[in-house]
């Protein structure tokens, strides 16, 4: 019972947070949710081990990411995503056009580039920590971050520069 309670608490807190991150990584909220559900199931399968990890979030996120990559949906992501985009009502009023541009710019990035961007920008991981979670060399992480930011700079305009300025 205590095990269940511990898992349930972890799940209810971590799921929404990880779902947001995976949604940006995959550009598909439904795919992200399905993958996360399976990743949490695998976490429960070996909860004795996962619960003792320093960062169970990272374990679940990594498993979910691998599921997303492998779930034969790469082609579908673009098709379904574009369909959703076309059918969605304007949710952000005056910023709508810019949001659409951002979506398109993000979609044009490879999933691997989006993953690095999200880990750094949304999860707050350092470059070294991103390298640790992805298994990539630090130099590769830096170059992917650079390319991802470069791709977004054009559509974000001045605000993008401000956000970078605020970081440094």
């Amino acid at each position: 019972v205590a095990e269940e309670r511990g898992f349930d608490e972890f799940y209810l807190v971590a799921f929404p947070r990880l779902h947001r991150q995976l949604t940006v990584m995959t550009m598909d909220a439904e795919q992200a949710r399905d993958a996360l559900q399976e990743a949490f199931a695998r976490a429960w399968q070996r909860w004795g081990k996962v619960s003792r990890m320093d960062n169970p979030d990272a374990w679940v996120r990594t498993v979910a990411w691998r599921l997303c990559v492998s779930q034969h949906r790469r082609r579908m992501v673009a098709i379904v995503g574009n369909r959703k985009l076309a059918g969605r009502d304007a949710p952000f009023d005056d910023q709508r056009d810019q949001v659409l541009d951002v979506r398109e710019a993000l979609r044009r990035l490879t999933p691997d580039h989006r993953r690095v961007l999200v880990l750094h920008e949304m999860c707050g991981l350092s470059v070294v920590e991103v390298a640790g979670e992805t298994g990539l060399p630090v130099g590769t992480v830096k170059s992917r971050l650079f390319r991802a930011r470069e791709a977004l700079a054009g559509v974000l305009g001045d605000g993008y520069a401000e956000s970078l300025g605020a970081e440094s």
Partner: protein
């Protein structure tokens, strides 16, 4: 809008979907636990069966064991320093064909690769010939040709007799790799992972005669022909996919590893047995019942596999399975029946290893060949005089 706001806007898509019920997630987790327990029980039963057979063999003295004591074991008996060396490609008429991986570039108009295959005399280690324009991984010798799946998104066919090199670029979108060629039922079968397809190719015309959609995931790495079926790994899923070459349909998807950190990467066939390897472990798969294939035995060779090391090469021959690992650099000789390690052969240390360097194993004639950076080594059964 700043970057964080932009990402946040996209992330809001997630909030429109309900969080799945935690009870459902736990139920799924329980099912995974039971599946793992069932597999453990099967492995235990298989181990008991092996032990019973071994006990019977000792009692009746009817089975001869071909494994000698360590002092007569296997080890490196010859070593050649051969710079510029690449991937072990195959054994053709007693010569070793190896790829020069040190020049993996295209020519200026990106039509022909600049790398080559070297033909090596195994007695001297000297290159006796070269085949320009041929290179690639996952080599396969079949249908009178050497087949390679290279870095420039084409399938390479090198005629064994004339050394003519031909290229096939069968993908629809151009930027994806081909992996895992196997020869079966008169065709070359190769995976196009990012298309989620297995391609069936006429070995003479190089025409794609069929495309089989793999819905289980991305097919890739190595492939095998076993028990009348074509087998491919499913990348990142710890699974194999089995294809009937008479219908070109997927017959079944086989779970090999339930560990999400484990990716099936190699397939081996030794006699009437099929083996699947991950970065850490070798599994034997009982494929006798289509749709009910099971892992019946496994041996874990190392604790983990990552970018710094793991299982790298594998081959079958001379009555054993040969597996190479990096960091530590070792070659294991494994009994194909019991999956027990019968010999462990340490390789000489390598300094300044190139990123693309791997430790390849090839069984040719009466020797095992291992390639590491700049060196070709022959492994054979040692006598006392060579110790």
């Amino acid at each position: 809008m700043n970057l964080h706001d932009a990402l946040d806007q996209v992330a809001r898509d997630a909030e429109a979907l309900p969080v799945p019920a935690v009870a459902d997630v736990r139920t799924r987790g329980e099912a995974l636990r039971h599946r793992a327990h069932r597999r453990t029980a099967l492995l235990t039963a298989a181990a008991v069966a092996v032990a019973s057979v071994a006990a019977y063999a000792v009692a009746s003295s009817t089975i001869k064991h071909d494994i000698r004591p360590a002092e007569y074991g296997w080890g490196i008996v010859d070593k050649y320093d051969v710079p510029r060396f690449g991937l072990l490609a195959g054994n053709v008429d007693g010569a070793l064909w190896v790829e020069d991986t040190h020049n993996r570039r295209m020519n200026a108009d990106r039509t022909v690769p600049l790398c080559e295959v070297l033909v090596i005399d195994p007695d001297t280690g000297a290159a006796t010939d070269s085949i320009p324009g041929a290179c690639g991984g996952w080599p396969l010798v079949a249908a009178g040709a050497l087949w390679m799946e290279p870095f420039f998104n084409r399938l390479v066919r090198v005629d064994l007799g004339t050394h003519e090199v031909r290229y096939l670029k069968p993908q629809r979108h151009g930027s994806n790799s081909l992996q895992g060629a196997v020869y079966a039922d008169g065709s070359i079968w190769v995976a196009s992972p990012y298309e989620h397809e297995v391609l069936r190719i006429d070995p003479d015309t190089l025409e794609v005669t069929d495309r089989i959609l793999i819905t289980a995931g991305m097919p890739g790495k190595t492939a095998a022909y076993f028990d009348g079926s074509v087998w491919f790994n499913v990348l990142s899923e710890g699974q194999l996919v089995r294809i009937d070459p008479t219908t070109n349909k997927v017959e079944s998807v086989v779970d090999v590893s339930t560990d999400p950190d484990e990716d099936t990467s190699r397939l081996l066939v030794a006699g009437d047995r099929l083996y699947s390897l991950t970065g850490t472990t070798i599994y034997e798969v009982d494929a006798s019942r289509v749709g009910d294939e099971q892992v019946v035995k496994s041996t874990r060779l190392r604790d983990s596999a990552d970018v710094h090391g793991g299982i790298e090469g594998s081959a079958v021959g001379l009555g054993a399975i040969w597996v190479s690992t990096r960091n530590p650099d070792l070659v294991y000789r494994i009994d194909p029946e019991t999956l027990k390690i019968t010999d462990t052969i340490p390789l000489p240390p390598v300094t300044d290893r190139a990123p693309q360097d791997s430790i390849d194993v090839l069984v040719a004639d009466d020797a095992v060949w291992v390639r590491t950076e700049g060196q070709l080594m022959e492994i054979a059964r040692q006598s006392k005089s060579t110790d």
